[in-house]
């Protein structure tokens, strides 16, 4: 079994982007609040993921990695995130769910 950590550099970038959009007046107050809540959820997961190792051949690892890449690509382009806010927030919610599934199968923690 090959173990590996999840990409916490990308996850950190996503979290910081969520907090940035939470204070961005171009989004509605409701959307800002949702970005804040999702950012907090992801940060809670990050603190566990920082020290976790996973079997990188599993489906949850692949799904979480794919989600990270997709969400990061969307969030890093503010025009895309603004034009498709609902879709962006949905993809973040999917990422949270994928990371929850991943944490459930961690092989080890600090």
């Amino acid at each position: 079994m090959a173990t590996a950590p999840i990409d916490t550099v990308t996850l950190t970038a996503i979290i910081n982007q969520c907090f940035s959009y939470a204070t961005d007046a171009r989004f509605s107050l409701a959307d800002q609040t949702t970005f804040l809540i999702e950012g907090k959820r992801l940060r809670g997961q990050l603190l566990n993921l920082l020290s976790a190792q996973f079997d990188n051949t599993t489906a949850p690892f692949a799904a979480a990695t794919a989600s990270l890449t997709a969400v990061n690509a969307t969030l890093s382009q503010s025009a895309t995130a603004l034009a498709n806010t609902a879709q962006t927030l949905n993809s973040i919610a999917t990422l949270v769910s994928n990371l929850d599934k991943l944490l459930a199968i961690a092989t080890s923690f600090v």
Binding site: P5, T12, I15, A22
Partner: protein, 311 residues
Amino acid sequence: MRLKIGICALLSCTVLSGCLNNRYITPVTSFQTSTTQTISVISTFYSSRNSYEAQLYLADIANDPSLSVATKDAAGHPTPLMQSTFSPASIKARLDALSVVSVYATRLYDLSNTTAPADFATASTALGTNLSSLNTTFTSLSGGGDPTANSYIGPITSVIGTIGKMYLNGKRDALVKTAIQEGGPQVNVILSLIKTDMDNIFSKEVITGANDQLASDIVAYNKDRVNLTYDQRVARLATIATAASVATSATASVPSQLVSSMISANNALLKSAASTSGKDKQLSLSSLNDALGAWVTQIQTLSTQISPLVK
């Protein structure tokens, strides 16, 4: 006349010998002082990581009246209030690794400043039981799943071995040079591991934590502002200004920078010990003084910037 020449020659030899023997005193003293100050700042930073998370959790609760305080969340997971986010054993092991570097700097100082190295205690009593058994701690952490613990074992063994030799032999002048050449590279390895830990784990925690605090304060203000008095708004905006300042400090990776400047000074010390020719020695001593001076300046600046990240 012969007597005068003889006395002059003797004085010259004594002065020259003194200069050679004391070549390390000033830089090693400065190195030891700065090491103590840096380790104190970094140790406080490490020790406060779990209390920082608990404070951040409580700040979230304060900003959102719909949230209640709990020791376990709705899913049954412990909240940061009662559970350590970072394993206390892992934090302690890293503090102990820094202690090894501190003992190295202190013994280097002792060695450079004493005229009676034979009076030194034995290596085992000087190190103390805790540090002597540090490798065992890291070995058990490594077995327990701490992914970076294993990397600490080799350099710690070497530094402890070097410190031991400082006591077991009694030849100061050669030993200062040997101690720097043997211990310095391993101290660098330990410091590099600490820096990697800072960059890979703690900077992510601190940066996202500071941004979390800032965003929470701003969102809460924007929701509440119409119901706040002028004075309440001023107070809340002052809190936001502080949070913004902390977020800026966090993004600058201050603790990691402090370790970097310590590594630079250690490298300059190593280069100085390796120099052989007179010109080479002068150049390396000048570089060493520059590195030590830059480090001293950074300690003052960075320790002020780190303080808001410590709760």
